[in-house]
Symmetry: C2
Subunit: 426 residues, 2 copies
């Protein structure tokens, strides 16, 4: 399903040496998880969640999706931020396209910027639309503000009674404003369990309701995630590439003092997977003045902006490329221009793969930059579920290797507290 | 117009100390530019270009834009990559919105990924559309492939004769495929002068034709750029914040060994300005194993993914925030939920400004991270022109301070050569 290629690191490290350093540490981490003595183990609900997906919740989501279909909802505003945004859009973009204007149009309100929200609000006009508001805590400022704007507009457009049928909240079982209001106004409500943190929650109803609404094969997503959750708890580094990836990252940081990891994809449809990666690692590990700085690139686009730096700039980073072998769509080229005839008959995906391999070689051979490649077999629902869990397992192990709690984020409160102090005192 | 706020760096450096270190070096750089003895000075055409904008070129652009309007072109595909993409989309996004579905819809083909290009191709359907293909060299693989796909589709949709009236090329005066083909097929053609490199070219016809087509105030863009080009050649660090910014960057890297600069905006409509910043600095400076690693963040969105790291992760970066004071759109809030009543009557832009200042304080006071703020007065055409030039001047000075040529990019050829070798030999 997913394979980690490590041959472009051989100049400094091999799998065998890696194993001799890290296997005992990984064994210890898994042992502690199983004994429930690992730090933060109370927040590992995401592992079991996909093994036994809540049937009632699924049935309810399918029912509400059917109702929206019957109502011919053609436009949906998804309101959420952080873990209530990134993984959801990542799944959507990996499995369909932003240009896909058949079916349902989906827009994300993922901040509280005035220009952005007001333009988005203008664009919905006087039509009916659906609102999915996702907020685990129910107290975050951004979704609260965005929801207020869009809910009012929806009431103006279709009246209060109908508006309340077009709101879905995904939130904590009891805590927070949205849980309370959904009771009061009769909004459909789905639950993010309290033992799953935001960045590990994309396969809960947080993402799943949208996936069902868009007609994705949700069973395959869950199956992929379930398979991953069984495979990837295995401590054996020969059999668990998610943990092996975590060890390579740790090795580069600890023994080679790299400061940055650049995570690369070659498809704009995978850019949000990069953002999921960034949150999972940045937020799980960015504590105690530790960890690699997570940076992301979309190639070949960014080779024409960051390519020079990556080839010849400061040598303090390594790269990890995510590459999916069987693409969504493909075409054989037939070029008009004479001096491009050498491309004729070649598949466009093949040219992208050559671009990927050429770049890895150029960076490794000529630029002396270590490169890891995460190969995913196929761009489909099953592999999205598997890949998301793969990244979650890798981030968890990576944080444990730094002796950090992979599931908290104490630093995020600092600026939030300062905002609240100012706004509430004026 | 644009002001650099430096008070959130005072713990380690003040303007006076900075000046005592850098004023002589900046004097020398400007002297060499004026004497034409600076490295790469032959590629500083972008400075004079906006001072004396080519009237014939402008007239031609206005004429073609009128013709497209008469033909009721509602959809435009802009094909280009790197400097032929980033600054153009940055201008568009700063001055209007991706959701703006009145008027003309614009899509960018900025890579050669099969999924992306084929989905974009599907989305144009059987309608007429305009193609703007921008390629200074005329030999880059990505625009060549994308153009081939869209040009053929356009011919299928509207026939060859009409298709040729719906293609605009922006390229070198004589070099490359597009210059040649435009003669053969009668496409409208505009020129990127040979003394302006890709990343410094957004205000040439590369970007200007689209800006005119979208009805932007192109005179104001040019006026802003012209004013900037006159103000920002001044070596006096008390009067030139672009150069002062370059000196701060250099100081952080050289005297404090920071590895990374994180460039922050608070509006999705400014994300592409961040990409322009990334290319200008990454490509101008990423040579000779030198320079700060350029990273970008969109807040408040990314505070919910990178916020933890930036607050408490490894302390090897500083931050620069770009903030525009007078926004495009604004609204006063009136919240439904009782516990958010403290927001009532407040402007949304004000809440964003508080979020920005709170974050800077949280990062500086609590996180010990130095912060620079680039304040821009207003989100309008004049300030887009001024800001783009401001960033160009800063990048040029920054590269000169590292004793590098700000205008070449030798490393970009390495992977390109490898791709060509493989594809041409199969």
């Amino acid at each position: 399903m997913i394979r980690l290629e490590t041959k472009y690191t051989k100049r400094i490290i091999t799998d065998n040496i890696l194993k001799s350093i890290y296997q005992p540490r990984i064994n210890r981490i898994v042992r502690r998880l199983k004994r429930k003595s690992a730090v933060g183990v109370e927040m590992t609900g995401w592992i079991k969640y996909v093994q036994n997906y809540d049937k009632k919740e699924l049935k309810d989501m399918l029912r509400v999706a059917r109702e929206w279909k019957k109502k011919q909802v053609k436009k949906v505003i998804v309101i959420g931020i952080g873990g209530s945004y990134l993984g959801i859009k990542a799944g959507m973009n990996m499995l369909r396209s932003d240009f896909n204007n058949k079916g349902i149009q989906v827009f994300f309100a993922h901040n509280m910027n005035n220009n952005y929200l007001l333009e988005l609000l203008n664009s919905v006009g006087r039509e009916q639309f659906g609102i999915i508001v996702i907020s685990k805590s129910g107290t975050t400022l951004e979704p609260a503000i965005a929801f207020n704007l869009f809910y009012k507009r929806l009431i103006r457009n279709v009246g209060r009674a109908k508006a309340n049928q077009l709101v879905v909240t995904v939130t904590d079982k009891v805590k927070g404003n949205f849980a309370k209001a959904s009771k009061e106004y009769g909004w459909a409500k789905f639950i993010i369990p309290s033992n799953i943190g935001g960045r590990y929650s994309a396969l809960t109803p947080a993402g799943m309701f949208l996936f069902i609404l868009l007609g994705f094969n949700y069973r395959a997503i869950i199956k992929g995630a379930k398979d991953a959750s069984k495979h990837l708890i295995n401590p054996d580094l020969d059999k668990n590439d998610a943990f092996r990836y975590a060890c390579y990252r740790n090795y580069f940081r600890t023994f080679h003092r790299y400061a940055i990891e650049n995570f690369v994809v070659y498809d704009p449809g995978l850019s949000m997977i990069s953002e999921v990666w960034k949150q999972l690692f940045g937020e799980s590990e960015g504590k105690d003045h530790k960890a690699l700085y997570p940076s992301t690139s979309l190639f070949t686009t960014d080779l024409h902006s960051m390519g020079q730096y990556l080839q010849e700039g400061t040598r303090n980073f390594f790269e990890t490329t995510l590459y999916i072998k069987r693409p969504l769509r493909d075409v054989r080229l037939s070029m008009i221009s004479d001096n491009l005839k050498y491309l004729n008959g070649k598949k466009l995906s093949y040219i992208n793969e050559i671009a990927m391999l050429s770049t890895v070689h150029a960076h490794y051979e000529d630029g002396k930059t270590k490169n890891l490649i995460i190969y995913v077999d196929k761009q489909d629902a099953y592999h999205f579920g598997y890949l998301y869990m793969w990244l979650c397992f890798a981030a968890m192990a990576s944080a444990y290797l730094l002796r950090l709690n992979p599931f908290d984020q104490p630093g995020v409160e600092v600026y939030k507290q300062r905002i609240a102090n100012i706004l509430k005192n004026k």
